[in-house]
Amino acid sequence: MTTEAPRAPASCLGQAIKRKEDPRFIQGRGRYLDDISLPGMLHMAIVRSPYAHARIVSIDKQTALDTPGVVAVITGEDLEKLGLHWMPTIAGDNQMVLATGKVLFQYQEVVAVVASSRGAAYDGAAAVEVEYEALPVLSDAKRAMDPDAPLLRDDRDQKTNHIWHWESGNAEATADALVKAEVVVRQDMYFPRCHASPLETCGCVADMDKATGRLTLYVTSQAPHVYRTVIALVAKLPEHMIRVVSPDIGGGFGAKVGIYPGYVVAVVASIVTGHPVKWVETRTEHLTSTAFARDYHMTAEIGATKDGRVQALRVHTLADHGAFDSQANPSKWPAGLFNICTGSYDFANAFVDVDAVYTNKPPGGISYRCSFRVTEAAYLIERAMDVLAQELKMDPAELRRKNFVAPEQFPYTTPLGWTYDSGNYRATFEKALAQIGYDSLRREQAGRRARGDLMGIGISTFTEIVGAGPNAQFDILGLKMFDSAEVRVHPTGKAVARFGVRHQGQGHETTFAQIVANELGLSPADVLVEQGDTDTAPYGLGTYGSRSTPVAGGAAALCARRIREKAKKIAAHLLECGEHDLEWTEGKFRVAGVPERSVTMQDCAFAAYTNPPPGLEPGLEATFYYDPPNFTFPFGTYVAVVDIDPGTGEVKVRRFLAIDDCGVVINPMIVEGQVHGGLTEGFAIAFMQEIPYDTEGNCLATNFTEYLVPTAAETPHWETDRTVTPSPHHPIGAKGVGESPNVGSPAAFVNAVVDALAHLGVRHIDMPLTRDKIWNVLRQHGVDGA
């Protein structure tokens, strides 16, 4: 037996291997949605409502039809004839595809124009005349339940703007604990409506082949299999006659989970015209109609002892869901995993409730780089802990130190029902404080404050919950939230691994290759990772909510182990020994006690096709559908140091240190890149991003001059490090990291800014912390900056 394949490293995990996908991206060879051009392809543009709430009086499409190049003009009434003018949402509501009767938010889809070129489609859209009769607008969620508030969804049986009420925890015990507490703090805080706004907007090419009756939908989707099933159900097409292809994606961050009306209309347009139809959003369309994130009005109450032991947490939230409830959360969890809001602290009692309401705003409620409302929860508890520290006149670091869940308490069950898998919060926290020089910074702050300078230090010691989810409780539209891997090892020992998830920049082509290679004793270079084509990939629920590594990563490892089990039988055959005589070490099967007698996975693969043991099925491949036994709970300590210019209100982030613990690290370079990206998004959310609406329901952030994205010039320097506390139940001990920095950082920034102003009597400022907002706060507190 000879072994010519290069020796694989003892472990591929923990290696900073360069990203396998980058060569094509940095050479401009990625194939994104808008790169797709099919023969005879038409283009679609959408006419949108200028009004937030208005009755549609008439639609005149004749001028549009007369516009050169226009092939078809589709209205809601046209779709109604097909029963497709409304579609179900993931959240169990219904959403208009093209408006009939009335519009419910500004920029809502009203008419679709299909033409021979994109320009002609837009010309045609401009020629459509829609007459509206304006109706009273509800743009403030806090007014939604007022008796005089306009009823928005008169299509529903329930004649109210209230959508649902959800609660978690023990209300009575928590109320009792708050009454008895020596100290109670209460803080209202608003997590503004913001938008993931990836570089690539949403789009699709729908191609119904009338000869075969097969629909191919190329679409910017983070969950292509879910799209296939939903399209089959909505459009009543047989699922095996639908192929969904998600090509390279230019960022998703949650915005590409839901199914948008444009996709449905493009499919109809392709069926009607017999041509492929492409629809790609403009930036304004993306910001004004594609799913938003956050928009939570939260009130936190903490009861504690005078010496700073937390006892009870009560949270009430009003959730603004816009005109349709199309939030992307697991079916039985309308507020997602918001009840992770006890965070890293050992509360004896907690209760949280959420009321969702309709407003004349776009629908959505996605997890923008966080796991189902976890950013809101982390922000709430980390902000509230600082408010408590301020009330107790206690250092916020000391308050946290007193209240962490201790390492020996794991697995730890929170009063809201989650069982944390593992953690060592204190160790990560102390590492962060030592690394940033916390005590020295506090001394510097005291000196600067005496001189009138505004310097702040903000801490966030967050705990996340990711990896949705255990199938007993978690599903989307009834589809259990497992995920899958299929691995085929070819005769020469090279492998193809396919997954039900779909990466959008996370680096799966590298990290999943590392997982598979590690289990099979191969080089990651010899494992090709494929995702995004429902014709080839096994069924999966997609990539969002930091679920890929916890769920599909687990499937990858267990799938490879299934192959290794079969390979072991082949190895025993090749080495003429029993399976029980073999051990798997350093990527080889070796005969126990005779280590020089060994075979590699390449040897086994070749034999699987050329010399399989008698009675064993030839070939070497496996599929694994993984139902995770629990979530994973990454955590971290972030520290921000800021200086505020009292004259302008400008906040300068002097330092930011992120110590993350995401369990076993697969590729430290990719983890660091994920943290950099997430921190930059968290920085943007904290300081510059909001999608506001005026009283008429006009969106006031419709482009990148109003909705700001930080450039390298604004972005602070990030300092990163990690601790490693493996997940005890994940096959390789990994927890996931992609979303931790977005989850943990907003609170650190806001805590730092409030800390800089605390001596003036400032207790809370809502994001975004823009210069003018800070400037006004300073003036209100007697700082003139002169």
Binding site: Y132, T284, E696, T702
Partner: protein, 156 residues
């Protein structure tokens, strides 16, 4: 976006002349800044197409206007208008009262509320109020000039 404006303009013609001018669609319509097209339907209704440019939002707005006067309240004019174009909508309600002043002149007391929707409000919103004030002033300047230059001859 809702814009509320009010003001007082002085003209050196008699109140009756001023009232006759501002209630004549043919004459007052032509005082609209950046007018592209004016179609007078009857003595109290007209349709105007005007050029609009607010920040990056540029195009034409078609405005359908209706005037209401009441013989019992001479010198009072209500004007409502509804505009659409550039994917935007506009609804205006306004009132004008004309009072005589010393020396034979007249005082035009006016107030208006405009509700704007669509890109005009969302994209141009920050600039819209200033632009509206500028255009309103330009319109009254044009009315004043027309009245004073020609003594407000009918049908000018």
């Amino acid at each position: 976006m809702r814009i509320q404006m009010s003001g007082v303009e002085h003209v050196s013609v008699a109140p009756e002349q001023a009232f006759a001018f501002v209630t004549d669609p043919n004459r007052v319509g032509r005082c609209m800044p950046d007018l592209d097209e004016l179609q007078v339907s009857d003595s109290r209704h007209f349709v105007a197409v005007v050029k609009v440019g607010v920040g990056p939002v540029r195009g034409r707005l078609k405005i359908e206007a209706e005037m209401k006067t009441d013989d019992a309240r001479l010198g009072d004019l209500d004007l409502t208008a509804k505009g659409s174009g550039m994917g935007s909508g506009m609804v205006l309600t306004s009132h004008m009262h004309i009072e005589p002043t010393g020396g034979g002149g007249a005082e035009l007391q006016w107030s208006a509320e405009t509700s704007v929707s669509g890109p005009l409000a969302s994209v141009g919103g920050r600039l819209l109020e200033g632009q509206a004030k500028k255009k309103t002033q330009a319109m009254f300047d044009a009315i004043r000039q027309a009245l004073q230059a020609n003594g407000a001859p009918a049908g000018s």
